[in-house]
């Protein structure tokens, strides 16, 4: 890996760098899009419009058939199975569209080294919380308190604002930690200009020096990160075995990922995104309640959540895979590769803040749903 030809190395670095830049730019574009009502992303994405358009048409059709199936379940208990099936498909298809915290969870997985298993569990927890929050809101507000749609609307509104606020906080914290980490890696790199230049100058020496530089940088990275970084960096990473140190350069051992601290942080992120209930689920629940089918509605909502979880987990897997690939590419590039990884993490953290801000700025659009109900 370390003995790659020079031209190819430059290519990899450029690619990883470009990736980071694209992420950061798209964060900026996303932040601009909603509040100022400009920059429609719909132009030019024709290759997506076919399958995605079809998916959205399907999910709309599923949604519209839910009410009929709830009513049918009233007289015919076997119709419940059909309802659950459609609810599941609706969840799967519906979650392909915007929302359900996919973007935040994906960004979180790009910003942090996580095991794939944890990414999946976090996705399921987020979808589960979303479904449960919808059930709790309707159970308490509608069943217990007999609240009006207006009151339920404002409750959802408050929950949304809290959720988006938390997403911004989590993103801001990550941005701070990752930003420091990036600056640290950058400074470390600045301090090693000679050895890096030398490593580039001789192909024979490249392997050895790269390993050396990587080891040094990695040790520095651990030191820089230690107070705030999510991961533990053991001193033995900085021992003589630099080649093995590189293999740890982007994160902790799987065992360390499984630690309680990591779970706590991951869970805080999914709770933040999961808090916001799906308005579709709220309406389905209220409809079911009006038909004296509240328990059936709860079942449908939970199955919907399961469907949503599968889609969110699939997208989280893509994000996780992308990070793994980026980190492999970066692994071939001592110093600059590490720096690029840090840049990607900073970009992903910035995205989380941007998503939170975008959602907070955009929450006005949901007010329309209450336009007929006050």
């Amino acid at each position: 890996m370390n003995a790659l030809p020079k031209r190819c190395s430059a290519y990899h670095v450029a690619l990883v760098g470009a990736l980071a830049i694209i992420i950061v730019i798209s964060a900026g574009a996303a932040a601009q899009a909603a509040p100022f009502g400009i920059a429609h992303p719909s132009g030019g994405s024709t290759f997506q419009s076919g399958p995605l358009g079809w998916i959205f048409a399907q999910q709309a059709a599923f949604y519209r058939s839910l009410s009929g199936m709830i009513r049918a379940s009233k007289d015919d208990r076997t119709a419940v199975w059909g309802l659950l099936g459609i609810s599941f498909l609706y969840g799967v298809f519906h979650a392909v569209g915007p929302g359900h915290g996919k973007a935040v969870i994906s960004s979180y997985l790009v910003a942090n080294e996580q095991t794939w298993r944890r990414g999946i569990v976090l996705s399921f927890v987020a979808a589960g919380i979303q479904a449960v929050v919808a059930v709790i809101i309707v159970a308490v507000a509608a069943v217990v308190l007999g609240a009006t749609a207006r009151a339920i609307g404002s409750t959802v509104h408050v929950v949304e604002i809290v959720s988006y606020g938390l997403v911004i906080l989590i993103g801001a914290r990550l941005l701070f930690v990752k930003g420091r980490s990036f600056i640290g890696a950058y400074r470390q790199r600045r301090r090693q200009p000679t050895s890096h230049a030398m490593s580039m100058s001789s192909r024979n020496a490249t392997g050895l020096l790269h390993r050396h530089v990587a080891g040094v940088l990695h040790c520095g990275h651990c030191r820089e990160d230690r107070p705030n970084h999510g991961f533990h960096c053991h001193d033995d990473h900085c021992h003589e075995d630099h080649a093995s140190a590189w293999s740890h350069a982007h994160g902790p051992e799987p065992a360390e990922l499984g630690g309680a601290g990591g779970w706590r942080r991951g869970l805080s992120a999914v709770i933040a995104v999961g808090l916001r209930p799906c308005s579709g689920a709220i309406i389905v629940l209220i409809f079911a309640l009006a038909q004296d089918m509240f328990w059936t509605g709860i079942g449908a909502t939970l199955v919907m959540g399961l469907g949503t979880a599968i889609t969110v987990a699939a997208i989280a897997t893509l994000a996780w895979t992308a990070r793994q690939a980026a980190s492999r590419i970066a692994g071939a590039q001592a110093g600059i590769g590490l720096l690029a990884m840090r840049a990607i993490e900073v970009g992903a953290s910035a995205l989380i803040v941007a998503f939170g801000a975008l959602l907070l700025a955009g929450y006005m659009s949901s007010e329309q749903l209450w336009m007929f109900t006050g």
């Binding site: 719909s42 995605l52 959205f56 519209r64 569209g97 915007p98 749609a149 949901s366 007929f372």
Partner: protein, 214 residues
């Protein structure tokens, strides 16, 4: 290796493309019946609407509304909700847009409005008077939500009636353009990137009524 990298890049970008809010437009479905009203002199005076909301939205709107008998709501019990409805709709120009020979007409506040509950749906009745009666060779009345939050669809049978128009006038009803997959995609993104206020995108999904008089 190279291909793996391009793929990684594509995957990473794709995973970020669907951003923002949870729901795809539209959110409320309305089945539309309209009556175009004429004065004795043959001028158009207004439009009388009867909008039937989808059952899920109806249940949602009725949640917590006090009513004496389970499963039934009287016109009187629904009066406060009807009031809220027409007041809120003002901001959206009642989703009703009229042109007399291409000239824009304006409506005044609705009159004779009430809600009716026909299990499981709510029906909103209201009459929109024109500010001044108007005559035209071609009268065009469109009903649509420019932001496509509400989906309007003509009722299957007799969606539009002429009330008091000269027998020489003819009515045509144009069904809205069916959304293509590209439209579906755009609709799905409207929550994230709303249309700007001047956008007429929703107009292509308009339910058009055309009255031609000699």
């Amino acid at each position: 290796m190279k291909r793996a990298r391009s793929r990684a890049c594509a995957i990473l970008l794709l995973s970020f493309s669907p951003i923002g809010r949870a729901d795809a437009h539209p959110h409320v479905w309305v089945t539309l019946r309209s009556e175009i009203l004429y004065s004795a002199e043959g001028a158009m005076t207004g439009v009388r609407h009867a909008w039937t909301f989808d059952d899920m939205f109806s249940a949602y709107a009725l949640q917590g509304m006090p009513h004496a008998k389970k499963g039934e709501y009287t016109r009187h019990e629904l009066a406060p909700l009807a009031q809220v409805n027409v007041e809120s709709l003002k901001e959206y120009a009642y989703f009703t847009f009229a042109r007399a020979d291409g000239r824009k007409l304006t409506f005044t506040d609705p009159v004779d409005y009430w809600l009716e509950y026909k299990n499981p749906a709510l029906v909103l009745h209201f009459t929109l008077p024109l500010r001044a009666p108007a005559s035209a060779k071609v009268m065009q009345i469109e009903v649509y939500d420019p932001s496509i939050f509400v989906d309007f669809e003509f009722a299957k049978e007799k969606p539009v009636l002429l009330s008091g128009a000269s027998p020489q006038c003819s009515l045509t009803v144009d069904l809205p353009h069916q959304p293509t997959p590209a439209d579906q995609l755009k609709l799905s993104q409207l929550d994230v990137t709303p249309l700007d206020a001047s956008s007429a995108y929703g107009e292509m999904f308009a339910n058009k009524m055309l009255v031609r008089c000699p």
